[in-house]
Amino acid sequence: MHGVWRHRRRREQRGDVEFKDYYQTLGVKRDASGDEIKRAYRRLARKFHPDVSKEADAEKRFKEVGEAYAVLKDPEKRAAYDQLGANWKAGQEFRPPPGWDQGFEFHGGGFTGAEAARFSDFFESLFGRGGSFTPDFGGQADRTFHARGEDTFAKVLIDLEDSYQGAVRTLTLKHTESGADGRPHIRERNIKVRIPKGVHQGQHIRLPRHGGAGVGKGEPGDLYLEVEFRSHPLYRAHGRDVYLDLPVAPWEAMLGASVTVPTPAGPVTLKVPPGSSAGRKLRLKGRGIPGQVPGDLYAVLQIALPPADSEAARAAYRELEKAQPFDPRAALGVKP
């Protein structure tokens, strides 16, 4: 790990970045037509779109695909990129040759990915930071808003417990802003924000006047924080409702029992009714995420089988077999 870091640092000091093979990223040949490139991009964008895809690295892949498309769809950028030659391999250390882009005039034809504010170091070494940046305005927005700062969005990752108790989170925000020179650049800042009790996955916390700076005398925009739950080892949340897999012994399920159940607000006692089968949902009313109408907590029963790892346990299973004629496959229409 240390070696990799040192290597990376050395590379950064020299101004080298990793070469990116944009044709490989889109899975097209170097002589692909504009239409082929567009088709490849669309297909991959649908596949990895972070709002649609559940693939683990969807967001990263989507950005890579978007970056590759931003270069290859633009005849000027593509020609300049092609000029680097076909001998470069993805991941190879790369430094743009001096004057490599001489004679090319870029018109900043933008990538439309609304969230892909930042491309790779490789992209920036070639086309500069913000070469990709297209302000997201629909173009016909009412003139009265022009002076107000942009509303900005960021994600805030919280634990389920935070929504039960409320919490305070410090986060570092990065966003692209138009500088005095009119060019977009990355601005970083820290904020400390209260996570309100009862907030849940996908909701937005609005912080008025903490978005992008206004133009001229215009007011700053608002900052919206989209709440995302960290995955929890015990609980799954959906809306305000929370689900927990609750293992019970066969005798607890069949004879009924009082069992202690963890909840994000602390353990509670739950009555398992006799004759419960696996998958049965037992509701703990109002023990979900708090709110005006609090959610419920559901314990989903799972029957845990005691191991037959001693003579006594084996004897007990045999006793049960004798005492209870039982065909678990009766519904399958075959003889035992």
Binding site: A45, G138, A141, F145, F153, R206, H210, Y243, G279
Partner: protein
């Protein structure tokens, strides 16, 4: 670089107790009013109030409009296509929710 680290910011949860005007929704999503009209026409979002100047959108509209805009920009779909995708995503979410309460059985493979 600004550092607001020591000021504790308190916001409001948009989906809970905020209604957005047409202007607020347009500004938050960086879209034109025309696009919002088109989304209302497709039934993607439903404002309360008779005339656009008095429209009030539920806080949940924010997420839907943003999603529609992302799909339009990134995948090149038109408004009707975005509306269809949103409906399908709703359905997908409902199915995933079902999977949530049934418990994730994906780990169970062949014998």
């Amino acid at each position: 670089m600004t550092d607001d680290r020591w000021i504790l910011l308190t916001g409001e949860v948009v989906e809970e107790n905020v209604e957005l005007t047409l202007a607020e929704l347009c500004h938050a999503c960086s879209v034109s009013a025309e696009l919002v009209f088109a989304l209302v026409e497709e039934g993607v979002i439903e404002p309360a109030g008779q005339v656009p100047s008095r429209w009030r959108f539920a806080g949940t509209s924010l997420r839907r409009v943003r999603l529609a805009v992302h799909l339009q920009h990134d995948l090149g779909v038109n408004v009707a296509g975005a509306a269809l995708a949103l409906d399908l995503l709703d359905e997908l979410e409902a199915l995933r929710a079902r999977q949530t309460y049934l418990g994730d059985r994906s780990g169970e493979g062949d014998a």
